[in-house]
Every structure is written in C-alpha cells, then in structure tokens.
Symmetry: C2
Subunit: 229 residues, 2 copies
Amino acid sequence: LFRFARLRPLSRRKQNPIPGDTVPKAVVSRLSLYLRELQRFVRGGGTTINSSQLGEILGITAAQVRKDFACFGQFGYPGIGYRCEELIAVIRGILGTDRIWPVALVGCGNLGQALLGYRGFGRQGFSVVLAFDSNPTMVGRTIGGLTIRDLSNLADDLAEYSVRMAILAVPASAAQQVVTQLVDAGITGILNFAPVTLSVPDMVTVAEVDLAIELEQLSFAVVKQLEKP
Amino acid sequence: LFRFARLRPLSRRKQNPIPGDTVPKAVVSRLSLYLRELQRFVRGGGTTINSSQLGEILGITAAQVRKDFACFGQFGYPGIGYRCEELIAVIRGILGTDRIWPVALVGCGNLGQALLGYRGFGRQGFSVVLAFDSNPTMVGRTIGGLTIRDLSNLADDLAEYSVRMAILAVPASAAQQVVTQLVDAGITGILNFAPVTLSVPDMVTVAEVDLAIELEQLSFAVVKQLEKP
C-alpha cells in the first residue's frame, strides 16, 4: 500500500517530472493502448502482468514495453512484473485522465449535437461545460442542459469555467477562423472534427479525429472474409 | 515498372495469399500507421524509406518494421529500402482500401446525418449508398442525396447494392436488435458508433469508434503545457 501511494500521480509528478518533449509521440500513443489492454486484462480477472505478456498483446517486443515505461519512471517489480491496477493509475496520471477536464463545444450543428450526447467524453474525464455556435437561430437554445452561446464573450466565458480545451465541430470553411479566436481566448488543446488541417501556435495541441484506422481495420476483416473459400 | 506491376494487389493476392488469422491484430493496426506516415513522407517529397526511418517515426525498432511487413511478403530492395509509392499501394491492397466499398448507414439521427456529410469515408474508399432509419417520420426523407428507407426490406436492399458493410449510428438501446437484423441480412463488417458492446457471430467484424485515444493524447499535451514553468 505504501509503495502504491508513492506511485500515485501527485507524488509521481514530484519525483519523476514528465520530461516534456523528450517523450516520443509514438510512446504516448502506446500509453493509450497499454491502458486499454490493461483494463481489459483486469476485467478478465488479471492482477499482474509482465512485459512479455503486454508486448505479445500489442505485437511489440518485451524490451520495447520496458523502454516505453522507462520514459516515465520505474514501475515494475522483479519477479512479478507490473501490478495492473497500479500501472493503470500511473498511466492515467501520466495521460492526465485521472481528473475532470472542463471543455467547450464549438459548433452545435448535427455533429455538435451528436457529440453533446456522446457518453465517452465523461468516461475519459471530459465534461462539456460550455457550448457555442455562431448561428443566431441556435444561440439561446438549450441542448443537453447547456444553453448555446455566441462567441462574442468567448474569453470571459472560458475563464469563468477554467476551460483550456475545446471540441471543434464547425464546418471546414469556418474552422481556421474559429480556432484563431479560441487560441486568442486561451485554449491550448483542440479536438478537431473539422476535416481540415489547422494552423496553431506551438503551445497549442490539435488532436485530429480520423476514422481512417477503424475503416481500414474493418476493410481488412471484410476482405479476409470474402477471400475465404 | 515490371516489378511494381508484379506487386499490385491482384497479383500479390495470388502469390502471397493473406494468411488469414495468422496475422496478429496489432500488425494490421500498425499497417494503418505505416500508411499514414508513408503518405505524409511522400507529401514531404520522400520517395524511398528504410525500416530504421519508418521505425523511428513510429517509435518501434527497425526489426519490428521488417517483421511486420514479412507477414505479407517481401517488399524491400537491398540497399534502397522501400519505394514509398509501391509500399503505399501494397498496404492499401492488403487493407482493401484500394477499391470502393458500398456501405449502408443505419440510423439517421444527429450523428447519422453528420456522418452522411463526413468526407473521410469517401477518401478511404467507402461510399454510403443506402440509409436506413426505424422512425416513420424519417423514412422517405432525402438527406445527402439518399432517400431514407425503413428496415422492412433490408436483405433485398443490401443485395441490390452488394452491400457487406454497415455504419451503425442508432441509440445504444436499439443497437443489438438492429445488428442481429443486419447480420441476418448478410452484413459482415460493422463500424459501430453506438456506445455498447455488440454480440455478433465469429464471421462478422465490428470496429468500435472510440475517441479515447485522441482524448488521452490531448489531455497529455495539455497537462504538459500546464506543468511548464
């Protein structure tokens, strides 16, 4: 229990500060995959797992697994491997999904309204606390408990709710102009659903939503199915 | 040119049949990542790339890269590495995204309507040719050039358009019942937007859309930003 407490996110951040840009983007991506598989493993009754098992699940070598985690500290136990619940807590702490992030939804058309009903945001610790639209016929309407605002008071609205992240669900033609407004108003992270590449300052991160991987995996499976004798 | 022609999907499938379930799921996932990075590399002016470079971009070892491609055949040239355009064509052939797949959209609420306008499907070779909804007030309406049908004639409608894949955008409460209908009508691949785990026969593949990875990467970047002095 003592060891576990020492490894909780708050302590970890003090003892092993996240080494900024020195962690390769690919390693951070794999943290999400490790997390997914560890959670599945625990649901299946697992309690400890070693780097060979984790590597096998993800199709990478055990050495790669150990190297990935070594970017953030020392989490394994000799002869045991990793304690799953502990490793899950550590990874969620590194990824920052062990807390609640207030986020703003910008664009309340069909996609925006669908996203307001998407329960996955809550599961990942994202709480949509503000909704914006530029269409005067949308402003003032209440959807999913949120009253849609126009963008005229953006900076104050974001500051009032301590919002640093935005979900962008506007048409491609409007996206860049809205993003410039968001960045000026203090947004540092954007989940972009608009099918356009955004230009942002270095300190702002844009995560693109791209269904290509899911579509390709599906296509592969169907091809395989069709080719069976 | 001769070599390239020999490596086109049709020939490849004859010479190196896709070895069914022997290819680990993680390797198939990485094919999507290789494809993305190769396309980016080509846009930047690159023409050939070796396994070390590809590994570095993806944060895995060169040996892992070579092992991944070896699942499907021999694509590299000694002393040159991989010819990017050729490797892109090969990977698209393996994934099956080098052809057009007709797909059916099931569920035409906010999310379904947003998906009807999503251009990424077309870029990946998916063409939405049928749209279904169970709501009588939706049936008969035309959205994005498609007239919404009810599910009463599903098997015939799918057969008429040779549809094997469906995009599921119905409420979670209706999802399993609709999936059972789809499978009975001959659907073998489902892109699932409903936040629920579906039960399907072995020969049917379900790709879950899960924004967790994008959200986690965004959260990581914002945490890093906030922790900067």
